[in-house]
């Protein structure tokens, strides 16, 4: 599931392949094709998780691939760059539409859990905590990888993940307390 940096294809700058295409261009296209095959769907799913919108997710991912293609020769880890581009693109999209309308995290006991409440609660988290949790628990990235993707220190990632989980736990616990007997105690009962 995770997109841990696809290896860059070796580049030979002075050779020219048949048909006027340089070896560099050929290598880039082969490498890019490989990256596309491996990462297109995972990135669409990641973007979709982050922006909850089909069109926006596709736009972000397509733009991100285009950026990777443009920079291919300079990228050490195209997969990691792609991931960062997708995350940043999603964050930008979200900011444009949701920054001022973000729903605050419910207080403990204020919620009754529905089928997708876990994800609804996730959406209510501060953006960086939410992003950290998605990268950690969807893509399964390490703290170092998340730090690179979000552009923060590993220690910050640890804090973001810890506090994000703690926020969820508090709300879920409050729900269990006020919703005794409900089949939704674990957030997935319905």
């Amino acid at each position: 599931m995770r997109s841990g940096g696809a290896a860059a294809v070796p580049v030979r700058r002075s050779e020219r392949a048949e048909g006027g295409t340089t070896a560099t261009e050929l290598d880039r296209e082969i490498g890019f094709e490989r990256l596309y095959a491996e990462e297109y769907e995972p990135m669409i799913r990641l973007a979709w998780l982050m922006v909850h919108n089909d069109d926006d997710a596709a736009e972000v991912v397509h733009d991100s691939f285009a950026k990777v293609f443009e920079r291919w020769d300079r990228l050490q880890a195209p997969g990691a760059y792609l991931r960062m581009a997708v995350v940043n693109g999603c964050r930008d999209r979200r900011r444009r539409s949701l920054f001022r309308s973000r729903v605050p995290l419910p207080r403990p006991g204020d919620v009754t859990l529905e089928v997708d409440d876990m994800l609804a609660l996730l959406d209510a988290l501060p953006p960086r905590r939410r992003d950290a949790l998605v990268l950690r628990f969807y893509l399964g990235l390490s703290e170092a990888e998340i730090a690179e993707t979000l552009g923060v220190r590993p220690g910050t990632v640890k804090s973001l993940v810890h506090r994000g989980l703690a926020d969820l736990a508090v709300v879920l616990k409050g729900s269990r307390t006020t919703d005794r007997g409900s089949s939704t105690q674990d957030g997935e009962g319905r």
Partner: protein
């Protein structure tokens, strides 16, 4: 790495449940079947755009970057202040260009044909990892100044000398502040106080405070048409909390308490060895270095104008740099031009005195700047790439009168010492 989450303090069950939910949700995501075609189209579009820009077809691409820098060492004659006052009060008859203080122009420190990245001393103090890239591969700025848009979009950043509302001292607060521009161009300025008052208090964090990690909390209270945001952290070995000089406090103009806390959180969380970054839409504002007098604004994937004072009595040094999507670290960083302006003249633009200058560029392409001095200690810069000053001035003159007065007043108010 595996997909099995570690226990981060929230419990393995919760983490596993969250992971399951995310996987389940993600599996429902629709996968566009035309991905290859759409990516190819985007790549082609970018290539065409690059070709267009490099060829200079269809007129110059103009960037608009407005920078407000408050410098403690900047001094401005009273008559220049009068220009502003008169202008704001609706009187323009007394405005003359002769009220501008003389500007001594420093030499161009970037010889033509050289790569400036290795010798940009002033920039290097804050951009320690910026590699130099041959200017022949450079693209022009990406922020298009739309002269038909309603109002000029100001981006604001300041470096400040402000009055301490807590100590009452007219302090030399060498804090760096940042601006934030919402998508509707509302300008919010975040001003950092580095003379934070030490306050030892015993308290229990409550719902009104925001935890920001590391045992620290933000306390947001209304202050001066904005918000005071104080940072509290536990006193080592004690039971109280203190605001610290390292983190200081913040004043955030306008906006609401929640967004004010968001912005300050963003500033603090990203603050390490790289500048803090705030983003709004496609715009990014960065703090360069705490306690530095430098200021920076730019775009996440665009270009930036860095201004480093002082202005009056010395030279103007500007650098146009490319900000990579992931900050200044990495291959995307380059320095386009660096050096003092090649000439500076004064002019009346928008009813206000301004300096106009052509900015030296390493590759010889035209680049210019119009600089206003709203209140004697601030500088507002419009930088235009791809056009010389002689061409830029009439464009801005024709446009600037349409800047709404409220925007200008806000700008001036924000920069008031």
């Amino acid at each position: 790495m595996t997909n099995e989450p570690a226990d981060h303090g929230g419990g393995d069950d919760l983490a596993r449940h969250l992971s399951d939910r995310l996987q389940q949700r993600a599996s429902a995501a629709p996968i566009p079947s035309d991905g290859r075609a759409r990516i190819s189209k985007r790549v082609d579009q970018r290539r065409r755009h690059a070709t267009y820009r490099n060829a200079g077809l269809g007129g110059a691409a103009i960037t608009l970057l407005a920078v407000v820098v408050l410098g403690a060492s900047l001094v401005r004659p009273e008559e220049s202040q009068d220009v502003l006052t008169d202008s704001l009060s609706g009187s323009t008859s007394s405005v003359t260009t002769t009220s501008l203080p003389a500007l001594t122009v420093g030499p161009d420190t970037t010889p033509p044909g050289t790569t400036p990245g290795s010798s940009t001393t002033a920039v290097a103090t804050t951009q320690t990892t910026a590699p130099s890239v041959p200017p022949t591969t450079a693209s022009p700025p990406t922020h298009i100044l739309d002269f038909d848009a309603p109002g000029l979009p100001w981006l604001v950043i300041e470096d400040g000398r402000v009055l301490s509302s807590r100590t009452g001292a007219a302090g030399e607060l060498a804090g760096v502040s940042a601006g934030w521009v919402s998508d509707d161009w509302q300008v919010t300025v975040i001003r950092r106080f580095t003379d934070a008052v030490l306050m030892f208090e015993s308290f229990e964090p409550d719902d009104t405070m925001r935890a920001i990690g590391g045992g620290r909390y933000l306390k947001v209270t209304p202050e001066n048409d904005g918000w005071s945001v104080l940072v509290y952290e536990p006193v080592t070995g004690g039971t109280g909390y203190t605001t610290t000089a390292s983190d200081g406090g913040f004043h955030v103009s306008g906006t609401d308490a929640d967004l004010a806390a968001d912005l300050v959180t963003g500033v603090m969380a990203d603050e390490s060895d790289i500048p803090a970054t705030l983003q709004a839409g496609t715009r990014t504002l960065r703090l360069v270095t705490p306690a530095s007098r430098s200021a920076y604004i730019g775009e996440g994937e665009g270009w930036a104008l860095t201004y480093q004072g002082p202005v009056v009595g010395s030279s103007i040094e500007v650098a146009v740099e490319r900000a990579g999507q992931f900050g200044w670290r990495g291959e995307a960083v380059r320095v386009l031009c660096f050096g003092g302006p090649t000439n500076v003249t004064s002019a009346m633009i928008g009813g206000r005195s301004a300096w106009v200058t052509d900015v030296a560029t390493a590759d010889g392409s035209p680049s210019s700047a119009i600089i206003w001095e709203p209140n004697g200690e601030a500088v507002v810069v419009i930088h235009a790439s791809g056009i010389d000053a002689a061409s830029l001035v009439p464009m801005v003159q024709n446009r600037l009168h349409r800047v709404d007065e409220a925007t200008w007043r806000e700008l001036v108010a924000l920069t008031a010492p």
